[in-house]
């Protein structure tokens, strides 16, 4: 594995992996981060991204030189342990109607029926390449080009939390209400960011998502169960 380092000021270093963005690179990055987490002193936190990991550290404890040497060692160890299982999280989603106001337009533009758009969207596994932009927001890859579509020209002032959208060749889920220009095709009752939970974040880098089409009744039912704390998230391990 060939990695290079770049200092970001006095207390952070960007580790670049020099490989095309892919599920296997994502796996390497995930394993690299797990190995970083075993070092406790002087490493403050780290942020995995598509083809890099940024490590924040304490310059009182590590010089830049020492930090990069340590990360090199970690990288050498990482290579030997590729993972062969994947975690798949099911995202129940109510498509179309008021919850997915751009579904019909997208179907029309793509010369598809709305049901086709839904089945194409629910057929794929989407990889969480990284989390960022908003608390709990997954950068997903794996969207079928048949349903890719450019952002709205006029972004909405407020997109509700849970909205499932498409922008270019990406699909995503809004963890909180925020302004946004994605084409909204549906909404999930799941909360990707929930301060009421001990762990407020539903997803992490390396997870795979599968969308599942649900009815309005199921949506309301799941929402109630989440409020009552009885909802059981579908999260399964699969061997690749």
């Amino acid at each position: 594995m060939s990695i290079t380092f770049h200092p970001l000021g006095e207390a952070a270093v960007k580790v670049s992996f020099h490989q095309a963005v892919s599920p296997s690179l994502n796996n390497i990055i995930k394993a690299f981060c797990t190995n970083i987490s075993l070092k406790d002193r002087g490493i403050i936190e780290w942020v995995p991204a598509y083809d890099s990991v940024t490590v924040y550290y304490d310059p009182w404890i590590f010089t830049y030189q020492q930090m990069t040497e340590l990360l090199n060692e970690i990288a050498l160890k990482t290579e030997q342990k590729p993972s062969n299982s994947k975690t798949i999280v099911t995202i129940p989603t109510l498509y179309g109607g008021e919850y997915g106001p751009d579904l019909e337009e997208l179907a029309e533009t793509k010369k598809l029926k709305t049901e086709d758009v839904i089945s194409i969207h629910t057929d794929a596994d989407y990889l969480v390449n990284m989390i960022g932009f908003l608390p709990g927001f997954p950068y997903l890859s794996g969207l079928d080009e048949k349903i890719s579509m450019a952002r709205l020209e006029e972004p909405r002032q407020a997109v509700p939390a849970g909205s499932v959208g498409i922008a270019g060749s990406q699909t995503g889920i809004y963890p909180l209400e925020s302004p946004g220009g994605w084409n909204l095709i549906g909404r999930t009752p799941l909360r990707l960011y929930d301060l009421e939970n001990e762990n407020p974040f539903l997803l992490e880098q390396g997870d795979y998502l599968q969308f599942k089409s649900i009815t309005k009744e199921e949506f309301e039912q799941i929402k109630r169960e989440i409020d009552e704390g009885t909802y059981k998230l579908e999260r399964k391990e699969e061997t690749k």
Binding site: E10, P59, I131, G136
Partner: protein
């Protein structure tokens, strides 16, 4: 116990400590005091741990009525702090008595002041930090009629920062920058123009970032594969208008970054008003670390002295 009642909240007054650590990988920004030096020294002056919760005051300060008698300090920018209409010294611990009013007047130097109190403010913690970050529901700014709580000890008053150590928050500053990580995607002439120009702070500047109104003639497309964005990161999008990202920034971004302002110089930026100017000076990572270590050493020594 109840320490202050909020009569007027001020323009944007928030609880801040040294930030939320460990959640950037989930997209939660660090937040924390924009002028960390001022908060840390403020805490040292009232006998606290350096990272205790203080109030960050922006431009127009709040009006607070003391409900107890306790020791406090105001540090950072000079926003004309007064107790019962009488100016109080900055960077010095003072006694505020039950019934007295702490208020602020005209901003004279800098734009952010820090109120620290003995024992620290008692504020709700989210993910291990009291720093307010409203977009994610992590606390909120002060509002009129809020009550502020704490458990003051009785440290001595009159502890002050030696005058040569008090920062001068100039309107025209130079800050040190470690180049990268995307400078190779930007042409040499643009990098050179960036480092040789004087940049003006635009009014659209806040805790997320400071926008600069310079327009560099770029010829790169401005987009990169998204990566983590550190505090102090300087984005240079295709439109040529640099943005310095600060504590409340998004944790990741997809714009080219020309460099990172070093931590010890961030307070200077935090105190710049719109219209203030910045020049950037390139330093090596070793120089940046040396500056950070010297600052840390100083703060550690001062902590032991009080």
């Amino acid at each position: 116990m109840k320490l202050f009642s909020v009569e007027k909240p001020g323009l944007y007054t928030t609880y801040q400590d040294l930030g939320r650590i460990g959640f950037m990988k989930f997209g939660v920004p660090t937040s924390g005091a924009l002028d960390r030096f001022a908060l840390e020294v403020g805490n040292i002056l009232v006998g606290n741990e350096r990272g205790a919760t203080g109030l960050e005051v922006t431009m127009q300060g709040p009006e607070l009525i003391a409900r107890e008698t306790f020791v406090m300090a105001v540090t950072g920018g000079d926003l004309s702090p007064m107790i019962n209409g009488k100016r109080i010294p900055l960077w010095k611990s003072v006694l505020v008595k039950k019934g007295q009013v702490l208020e602020f007047g005209k901003p004279r130097q800098g734009v952010r002041a820090y109120i620290t109190i003995s024992g620290g403010f008692e504020a709700k913690e989210y993910m291990g930090s009291t720093s307010v970050y409203e977009p994610a529901g992590l606390g909120r700014r002060l509002q009129a009629r809020d009550e502020l709580f704490g458990n003051p000890k009785q440290p001595k008053t009159g502890t002050g920062l030696f005058y040569t150590e008090i920062p001068e928050y100039d309107r025209d500053i130079e800050v040190r920058v470690v180049k990268g990580p995307h400078h190779e995607q930007i042409s040499d002439s643009v990098v050179e123009a960036f480092f040789s120009s004087t940049h003006e702070v635009s009014p659209q500047s806040n805790r997320m970032g400071y926008r600069l109104s310079s327009e560099l003639e770029t010829n790169h497309d401005g987009d990169v594969i998204s990566d983590a964005v550190p505090i102090g990161g300087i984005q240079l999008p295709g439109n040529g208008q640099p943005i310095i990202l600060l504590a409340d920034r998004q944790t990741t971004g997809g714009y080219t970054r020309i460099g990172t302002v070093i931590g010890p110089d961030l307070p200077l930026i935090a105190q710049l008003p719109p219209g203030g100017t910045i020049r950037f000076k390139e330093v090596s990572v070793e120089e940046a670390q040396e500056a950070a270590i010297q600052l840390e050493r100083k703060l550690r020594i001062w902590s032991r002295m009080t």
